[in-house]
Amino acid sequence: MKWIGRIIMVLYALLVAAPLYFVITSSFKTSQAFFANPLSWPNPWTIQNFISIFDAQPMWQYFWNSARVTLSTVALDLFLGSLIAYAIIRLGGRMGRYTFVYFVAGLIIPSQVSMLPLYSLVRQIGWSDNLGALVLVTAAGLLPLTVFTLTGFMEMLSKEMMEAGSIDGASEWKIYWRLVLPLSGPSLAATAAFLFVMVWNDLLIPMLLINSTDKLTLPLALMQFRGEYVTDYTLLLTGVVITAVPMVILFIFLQRFFVTGMTAGSVKG
């Protein structure tokens, strides 16, 4: 029994690690070395791919676009979502429940369904090809998830404490800002980790809204590289590595929150 477990453990580790090994080593190889043997250890190591990709492409621009869009969307969702979650908890009763249901109903509608009308709406109001609009649209689409998660977490905070704050004469804003928000720290971090991954990696909404080359986000840029460098595998895989780096760093530092966020997120689908 023990041995079977060990064997499965090792095999699955190989299954996950082999593609990752392949991507990372390829990004440090010359094209010739890659084609000679895609699985070999890089010899010589070269950072030429990284230089080329930043040289030939406005890579910093794509990176900066993705960073701006992701940070703004996550910040906006956390702020608006926590305000809504707080209001839902405080209102309670029927009103609280109705508001909760109204927001959470959006979880059933995936972006693949809202994509068509969204696309035409954004064009009608003249917002296409605008990173600000991308932030607003993405934030709107992820608000149901944010509200669901944060309401769930905030429900566990003591309501008596909030009441006590009111009795002592604190305004709603003060209770939210000084009391509830700091106490929600870990749940905000978990929600943020979850949102970061979704926004940073999103393909569909940016694809619908963005078309000029200087406004591409990283997933869009990768799709475009594929068209341009059909045969330059090492360059493309370098793009994959660069796209993943921020998420890896985030993952290393926020691992605990990633897991709570993902499990909390997975509960509602």
């Binding site: 580790a13 996950v16 991507v23 809504i84 209001a87 149901p144 990633f258």
Partner: protein, 290 residues
Amino acid sequence: MMNRKTLWFFMLPGLLLYTGLFVYPAVSGLFYSFTNWDGVSTSYDFVGISNYKDSFDSIVFRKAFFNNVKFMLTVVIIQTIVSLVLALILAKNTRTRVFLRALYFFPAILSSVSVGLIWSFIYDPSLGLLNTALTSGGLEQFTASWTGDANIALYAIAFVQIWAHAGQMMIVFIAGLHAIPEELMEAARIDGATRFQIFRKVTWPLLAPSATIVVSYTTIQSFKAFDLIFVMTDGGPNYATEILTTYIYHLAFSNYSFGLASAGSMIFLVLLGLLTMAQFKALRRGGANG
């Protein structure tokens, strides 16, 4: 004691954003589904329910629907088993196991564009790692055009979907396993129960809520898949990997049949709604058992 007016004011910005850029577009999709709009011109006519009729009559639509079901069943069954087995092996908190958990989970944080590109290289019929490995291992007869063969392309992508998300579902199972009181296992062990008996009589029943979560989440995730297929095959070859979401996308943005595509989205939404309702029922039951 609370100030209702302030609380409504708190909700206002989010309410406006969500209503304007999510609820309104979703509802207007229903409206477009009764028109023959091409998505570009300024005018269109109402065509009643003919878009819905045309959808059901379309061979591609039906093919996409069955592909959706095939893809979903494959992913749900295999991913649930794989993630459960991994969780059982990695549940203990030893240093190696905690590290492996992080490794197994890792693919979930990559974008589906990245995952799709990586696996496109692995599956590449002439240069790809998979065929190269098979050939050098003397298994030439098993090499294939993984995403180019209509019989296997859908399953090849399902495999990638599982590769990317089984570790994530493993975490849900591990959380469930950790919630089982150690004394129960201990008691069963003292009573002389075998490992298998402990699993069947103690672990599995108490794991039912986690299993329900994993199954229902995976069902919905795989039913609304889009990115991976879009990146790896874009529905081909010969519609072998066309699923409802890519079908809708192609209708709207390649064929300019916006009205027809909208009807397709509405049918897709209803199907997804049914699945979600089944999910809620199952969750409630699973919750009651746990």
